[in-house]
Symmetry: C2
């Protein structure tokens, strides 16, 4: 494939059209101009400038992490973010949940014929800004164009590579009976922010997406000496789905307390109006951490030093029940089982 490394072309006067055309994906001059004028300008860095089919770099001995996500959020722009910033934060966060510090991202764009060039530019600039703020580099990329009616403006895939510090072992199989479950902040803002734009709703006090990179709070949490057993970000399916996945992975029961789970009043109200349960709504800047009960205070202190986790709280614990059931102790003191949803709650939320 002709990748973004293969870019610097005959620098004739740029022919910039107002919309994306099929020829922008065809491997010829228009594609080269698109890459040069939009992508390279935004992401410029020495590895992207290697002008090759892929990026190469020397590594020291260690442990690497590798992840990928495609982003199809609709609409492309929403309060607190857009598909570009989301594509950076989401993949950084998947690396962070492996305990890894993110280094490099790839960016694959699938553009729909007729997409406004201005929209594309705004998305790419937001992506570049999010990457810069997070200290990661977009080092390789690709662009495809599909015919009108065969896509939806822009889809983005990012893959990410990160480095796991020595001695870190994080994963569902590290979760132990008795572990405390910590939640980094309030739930539901991302899903409600996206849905409010999609449905044309206005809520009292605009609700902004919580989309944010989590690698620095994870780095400091791991650096604090707390033996973190597992981390998980609370994206599609929200807290309830993440706990269910981990309960199965760890083959353990989990119990959380409804009264301890922070949900902003405006989000709670919007969820009631929309018929959503905030425990199942997607977040893009929230995570849970499993730590030994004896290290809860240290862990919460380390997390709360970061703006993205200043509301961190202990919400429950891993029980010694031998079956992977997630129970919620409600504000009324009763218990209900938090299961996976069978159907769809919120399509195209990320």
């Amino acid at each position: 494939m002709a990748d973004h490394q293969a870019l610097h072309l005959h620098c004739s006067v740029p022919v910039r059209s107002a919309t994306v055309q099929l020829a922008h994906g065809g491997g010829g001059r228009l594609m080269q101009e698109l890459i040069r004028d939009i992508f390279v300008r935004a992401f410029d860095n020495p590895m992207l400038a290697q002008l090759h089919d892929g990026a190469t770099w020397p590594v020291a001995e260690g442990t690497l992490a590798f992840t990928t996500d495609s982003y199809v959020v609709s609409p492309l722009f929403f309060p607190g973010g857009d598909i570009g910033s989301l594509a950076v934060h989401g993949t950084i966060n998947d690396l962070a949940m492996c305990g890894a510090m993110p280094l490099y991202l790839s960016a694959g764009f699938i553009l729909e014929e007729g997409l406004s060039m201005e929209t594309l530019q705004n998305v790419v600039e937001s992506m570049a800004k999010a990457a810069e703020e997070a200290g990661v580099q977009v080092v390789t990329g690709d662009t495809k164009v599909v015919d009108r009616g065969k896509g939806d403006g822009v889809f983005i895939n990012t893959a990410g590579i990160g480095v796991v510090p020595p001695g870190i072992r994080i994963g569902p199989d590290e979760v132990k009976s008795g572990d405390a479950i910590l939640l980094s902040g309030d739930l539901g803002s991302h899903g409600v922010a996206v849905l409010s734009v999609r449905e044309g709703l206005r809520f009292t006090g605009e609700i902004e997406s919580d989309s944010a990179p989590l690698h620095r709070v994870v780095r400091d949490l791991l650096g604090s000496g707390v033996p973190v057993h597992c981390l998980r970000d609370l994206t599609r399916g929200g807290l309830a789905s993440a706990l269910n996945e981990l309960a199965v992975g760890a083959n353990s029961g989990m119990t959380i307390e409804e009264s301890l789970i922070p949900v902003r009043e405006s989000v709670r109200g919007a969820c009631e109006l929309l018929g959503l349960d905030p425990l199942y709504v997607a977040n893009e800047g929230r995570f849970i951490a499993f730590v030994p009960e004896s290290h809860v205070d240290e862990a919460l202190a380390a997390m709360r030093r970061h703006r993205v986790a200043h509301q961190a709280v202990r919400i429950g614990s891993v029980t010694d029940v031998g079956s992977p059931i997630v129970a919620l102790r409600t504000v009324l003191g009763t218990h209900r089982i938090l299961d996976l949803l069978s159907g769809e709650q919120l399509p195209r939320i990320c």
Copy 2:
């Protein structure tokens, strides 16, 4: 994001629907079943089974390569391949063109609501087969579903990681005046194979895509001791576009001989009928290598030992013209300039 690592779920009786539904991307039970029944079954390996947000693995000190491509080929199935095998071969080949041996792939699927589950299964199985034959593992993945009419069946993104052997330096800036340009085989089969299905044409003697992994021939070429200066696969835009990109990257002129460039008669005939120039048609299993003139015979011998490059030939050389112009000496002995195409030749060819 809930990635494919987070999979093993309540193993109730699988509810398999005949088509993809929006809920298959929603983070709930249907998504988990899709991942378990289709993706994990096909790609099963220990890293995918880590049940985490990304794959992690130890590396030795060295040089890594990283690349990405999205695949939007239409139709999904064509003589000699399909979007699944293409998504493996294409990304492997980008790594190979960096001199890297591919290790791991990610796989990101964007599915259109209503896609037949059987089609998806066939694509994924083809992908798994191609990966196994090439000796690479799909270690992390993601699935999104978009509403009917907002996608086109299935789009696939793969990112790849590979290891570059010590001492290898390959890139456009390594190209030297006087270098010979070697071509690994005949041109145009992939583009013509895809187009023939799309347009419902039948040519005498079915034309099959040349889609194939190139990492083993590259490994042996590098291992033969030939000081390879640059490699490039001939995908979108074909040979002419690749040469133009490299001429600019190397700031050198290049001259190739039309009479030396192999094009099968059936492909040549189809191109004439379709109004295509085979020098601009996409290939998915062909590459060019830049080597010192003194090493041409060794290099060709190493390449020809592999079925995918048994027709390898020297087609031209890098000239000492100080401007990045690609010239074709025609069969009539005249010269014409091979420029980048301004418009679109073949949309959605990969």
